[in-house]
Symmetry: C2
Subunit: 338 residues, 2 copies
């Protein structure tokens, strides 16, 4: 088969790779229906940090089970499944607490920007859909694999409550789906911080009640002004920079909740600032597996349409174009068809 | 009257001060039954940061209401009351969320190492006891004013659950009362990190099931070894240094809870470390007012005896000795009788 490999800054190649094979008896091999480029892929794509060797890319996926190892019990050949970017046995004590992305047997997926994918710990990682999905559901199911699950976790970790006031920092796919998730959790007011017309519009479609385009100190002042000087109950930090983290903490009320779900790059938190902010801080790699059954149901019932974040659809072989469009912020998120 | 004033590093004086008077119509004046020295007083006492002018000290107090301003409605002359180190109106939106220490009208108390004390926002800050307390209850009621309330918040903020595994970092009065609080919340296993015989013994009296005397990497390795390599559900950081904070985060399981209640000094948290630890982090000045009614009840019902943390009792005029004994770790906590 051919798959996607990052060789260095902005050097993405689609090239001949070995077909994956069952390596452990708990593995499954999937034939992917769709795959995509993640905002987090842009960090190594931009050389921060640079890859040290040619690195197969991709960690978002859904598709049909083509082969299973002899110890796979619940996942069956021919099922349509969605999995998370982090594998899990779904039985260890960490998994049982709902943190499958911290499973003691966790592996972070790679190699999903390809037609075929080996998934370790298939029974604990993959969730079958109720039926074979129609084509129009594929983008949403693919979103559930990471960006929707991560946006949902951001809202959950920020303790979004019915009637609450929510701020979302970041208008990438995760931030936009954080808006959608906060809406599902019946927040009353959802303030999206965005300075990009098309993304503002999608934020409104997903449920944002207000848009704030200012950033940094000005952005925080706007949020305080909109909340009687108090700050928001819940703030979702969906970027991963020091500026966005400061903006998030500074937008929350004392005793409020800040989640952070973008891998932090160069972020240092000052202990005393955190202390006097009195916020709850929680983040990390999202336990997407924990939320997948619910998210798949919402998608199949057509109650949510997270697939709208894909505003560029390309054949997989044009993956390099997909990275470029996201790097230049011409596309929110690129879907790739093998 | 005479009161306590810090002039510079290790320069505590007990000297003539003006009697406090009602300044705002919502103020009350208390005649203190007992007061004490706080671990947090040791930071400026040691010159970190140094005081810039002579500074009246003390923020823990209980006693009898001697005078009230004309707008004080619920607090009555002659009542025995306990208050928090942070004043609160107990009506603003922050207070209603249970974060009275973040009240929009908050003031941090000073001047309590004295016989008389002015308390702003008396109705929202002070909690009367059910009856006039007998003398043997005074140390425990005084503890409720800060160290017990703070230890309780530490356990609450670290989500201590019945049956859970708890680690307490720090064997000062707050850490020891964090142990007591975790016990009240029915944790199954409470591991106190302490290398000091007398404090280990008190930790055991308060409910610690295990003692770990190692620190840093060795301490974390011990905790991991005691928890099947997983880490603790709840970790209470009751020191405020970078080393203790790292130890706390490194002792929690993925998806676990870390609270921090000692004012951080020189603590920087690495964003990526926090991210991959997947812990919930919450701390700040404890909302003692929120817990006071419950804590006073537990003390009056003689279900807890937090006053045991006072292992040195002195006349108030010997306050400088009290600071010295705590600075040199000869005393856990010094009670002062006006």
């Amino acid at each position: 088969m051919r798959g996607t490999v990052l060789y260095g800054p902005r050097d993405i190649r689609f090239e001949e790779r070995p077909d994956p094979v069952i390596e452990q008896p708990t593995d499954a091999i999937l034939r992917l229906a769709v795959t995509c480029v993640c905002g987090s892929d842009l960090w190594p794509y931009r050389g921060n940090p640079p890859v040290t060797e040619p690195t197969p890319m991709g960690h978002e996926y859904c598709g049909v089970v083509e082969e299973v190892g002899r110890d796979v019990k619940t996942i069956k050949l021919g099922q349509f499944v969605v999995g998370s970017f982090a594998t899990s046995d779904n039985t260890c004590v960490i998994c049982r607490h709902g943190y499958q992305s911290g499973c003691v047997n966790r592996e972070f997926m790679l190699r999903a920007q390809a037609p075929l994918l080996r998934v370790p710990n298939a029974d604990g990682t993959l969730v079958p859909t109720p039926d074979k999905p129609s084509d129009d559901l594929l983008p949403s199911l693919l979103a559930a694999s990471d960006v929707l699950g991560t946006g949902w976790f951001a809202a959950d970790a920020a303790n979004v409550q019915p009637g609450g006031t929510v701020v979302v920092v970041g208008d990438g796919a995760v931030g936009l789906l954080g808006v959608l998730s906060a809406k599902q959790m019946r927040a009353e007011r959802i303030i999206a911080m965005s300075r990009h017309d098309k993304r503002q519009q999608l934020a409104r479609e997903f449920g944002a009640t207000d848009i704030v385009s200012e950033r940094g100190d000005e952005g925080m002042a706007r949020i305080k002004g909109m909340t009687d000087g108090i700050g928001a109950d819940s703030v979702l930090e969906c970027v991963g920079t020091e500026e966005s983290m400061k903006q998030a903490v500074g937008s929350a009320r004392r005793g409020g909740y800040v989640s952070f779900v973008g891998v932090p790059h160069g972020v240092e938190l000052d202990g005393q600032e955190m202390f006097f902010s009195q916020v709850h801080l929680h983040g990390g790699p999202a336990p997407v597996r924990h939320f997948l059954p619910k998210l798949i149901d919402l998608i199949f019932e057509r109650k949510i349409d997270p697939g709208k974040v894909f505003d560029l659809m390309l054949p997989l072989e044009d993956v390099a174009q997909g990275y470029r469009a996201m790097d230049e912020r011409r596309a929110i998120k690129t879907l790739l068809r093998p």
